[in-house]
């Protein structure tokens, strides 16, 4: 078997194990909650017979492993049960909210890449110049601002003072896509700024590390111009560790959007999660947690694969 196949298979097996493990944990975690599922679904004045029937119907009287397998089977088919808060299917509820969160993640991710790469290069080229010192300090400052506070500041400055958007007035993409993107840019900036700062800092140190290596000296001694060394040799190598950081950030972006959705009143997955927690709507919480966790695990898997493709040294470890 070729090395890359062996590596891929190994990673794939660990992907499956992680997903299974996560599903078991998500399922059992919510079984320790005290209280009777049937009683809370039917209310206090349900008769013993009704309760029994409900338990029978929902499979609540079966043993834990059997209930887990049933739950997993349904979950794989996309059925996560009913939301007690919204009185509708969890899957329908989630698919309605997913859009917003995905757009938020995509927009912030694009912002991070577009802004951080040029600034990171600029900062590394001017190593220890005034501009570099300024950029380094600013990145530290921006890394320290919590995204939800930034969201409040953006609402205050661009929403209330400059009136570039109406705070809280979310526009549905089906209604007016351009206005939707325009509105979403502001929460996306709030999510992106701290992560952009982090990427700049990381890219800068990665570039500086690469610049000291022998191949750069060789390229320079051949008489290659600094600028083309940077773009043709250094950047490619320096971006490898940055890609890992960016991919790990995707998970953080998803988590960060939970808070930012709250600030901007976006009807996304994060706000649904928070309101379901507050209203003890466990079927929804379970589904969202499993969903986000699976996305994180699959992203990590893909990063491992991309990584071995860009940097073949990885496979030999």
């Amino acid at each position: 078997m070729k090395v890359w196949m062996k590596y891929t298979v190994k990673k794939f097996i660990s992907l499956v194990i992680s997903l299974l493990f996560t599903s078991i944990v998500t399922f059992t975690a919510f079984q320790v909650i005290p209280g009777d599922g049937a009683l809370s679904a039917l209310g206090m004045d349900a008769t013993e017979k009704q309760l029994e029937e409900y338990r029978e119907e929902m499979g609540l009287n079966k043993s834990l492993p059997i209930r887990y397998i049933n739950w997993l089977k349904d979950a794989l088919k996309g059925d996560f049960g009913y939301s007690s808060q919204y009185q509708m299917k969890v899957s329908a509820l989630i698919s309605g909210r997913l859009n917003v969160t995905l757009w938020l993640a995509v927009l912030s991710f694009l912002l991070i890449i577009v802004v951080s790469i040029p600034i990171g290069i600029l900062s590394a080229r001017q190593n220890d110049g005034t501009l570099d010192v300024l950029i380094t300090l600013l990145t530290q400052v921006f890394m320290s601002v919590p995204p939800f506070f930034l969201g409040l500041l953006i609402t205050l400055i661009f929403g209330i003072i400059l009136k570039w958007f109406t705070p809280g007035n979310y526009i549905d993409p089906g209604e007016n896509f351009r206005m939707f993107i325009r509105f979403m840019m502001f929460p996306a900036i709030a999510v992106a700024v701290p992560k952009t700062a982090m990427t700049i800092k990381f890219l800068r140190s990665s570039l500086l590390r690469e610049m000291e290596l022998d191949y750069v000296r060789t390229a320079r001694s051949k008489g290659m111009a600094n600028i083309s060394i940077l773009f043709r040799h250094i950047l490619k190598n320096a971006l490898i560790p940055v890609i890992t950081i960016l991919a790990m950030m995707l998970a953080d972006i998803l988590a960060g959007s939970i808070l930012v959705e709250q600030v901007f009143n976006l009807p996304g997955l994060g706000r649904l999660l928070v309101s379901s927690i507050a209203n003890r709507d466990y079927a929804v919480v379970q589904a969202i947690v499993l969903y986000i966790a699976s996305v994180v695990i699959i992203i990590n898997f893909l990063v491992d694969l991309i990584y071995q493709w860009i940097d073949p040294r990885v496979k030999r470890d």
């Binding site: 998500t26 609402t155 928070v274 986000i292």
Partner: protein
């Protein structure tokens, strides 16, 4: 600022120390004295902008924002210290044992660590809160437990390296017990990485508390905490925009100060 060995500290390190001292001073004073009672309402003065009487203005109940920030930052700090204490002490024990003894248990625990650390901690904390309910004690417990893996990892990697060093071999030859070697001989040598990890951990704890309280799942009213205050400020952004600035700035300065210091410490050691 000059170091004992004659070199100068980096600008960022000094800046970090100054910011942190200022912030800590405000919090420390807040434990003993606040200009007004932080929970005292005064309807006549509600949503009044910063003035000489109320330096940072008042909130929607006419409560003095400066007093609330001082007290609230104290609450946030106590929670953060408790979280780091739980995470760091248990994490150090786990890391010390797995790093020193190795073996299959080490493998298992480290794989588990990998899985846990790849998830955003706020998501795990939310799961915890949804099961055990909101409140300060619950988030201390939840986040404290969630912080264990990161410390276990840091301490473990140091132990793996240090246990091969001559001073450990010497101690073993002299008949010192494993526990003594681990905690008297090796542990003090991990401070190079442990101290920056504690500072960063404190930052993460402050941010996590603020985030959870902002969502209404952490500190419960009327108690003030920085995140709680931001949540209240959000509803009154139109009437009293100054309300959001003070607690938000306090969080930012806290995090900035500690990360500058920790960055400086890491650079010192190369």
């Amino acid at each position: 600022m000059i170091k004992p060995n004659g070199n100068t500290y980096s600008f960022n390190y000094v800046l970090g120390l100054s910011i942190t001292s200022l912030v800590l001073l405000i919090v420390l004073i807040g434990f003993f004295y606040t200009p007004y009672d932080p929970n005292k309402m005064n309807v006549a003065l509600k949503n009044s902008p910063p003035s000489l009487r109320h330096l940072l203005g008042t909130d929607n109940f006419g409560r003095d924002i400066l007093s609330r920030v001082m007290k609230g930052a104290g609450t946030t700090y106590i929670i953060a210290v408790a979280i780091v204490f739980i995470g760091a002490s248990l994490g150090t024990i786990v890391g010390a044992f797995t790093g020193y003894f190795g073996g299959w248990l080490d493998e298992v625990i480290m794989r588990l660590n990998d899985v846990l650390t790849s998830f955003p901690s706020i998501l795990l904390a939310l799961v915890f809160v949804s099961i055990f309910g909101p409140g300060s004690y619950n988030i201390i417990f939840a986040l404290g437990v969630l912080f264990i893996p990161s410390y276990a990892r840091v301490v473990r990697s140091e132990f793996v390296v240090l246990k091969e060093r001559d001073f450990v071999k010497n101690a073993e030859l002299m008949g010192a017990g494993s526990l003594r070697i681990m905690f008297v001989h090796i542990l003090p040598n991990t401070k190079r990485v442990l101290i920056p990890a504690l500072l960063i951990g404190f930052n993460n704890a402050v941010l996590a508390e603020a985030g959870l309280s902002f969502l209404g799942l952490g500190v419960q009213p009327p108690e003030a905490s920085l995140g709680r205050m931001l949540a209240e400020a959000q509803s009154y952004l139109l009437d009293s925009p100054w309300y959001a600035i003070a607690p938000g700035l306090m969080i930012t300065l806290t995090v900035l100060g500690f990360s500058l210091i920790s960055g400086g410490l890491e650079n010192e050691q190369g």
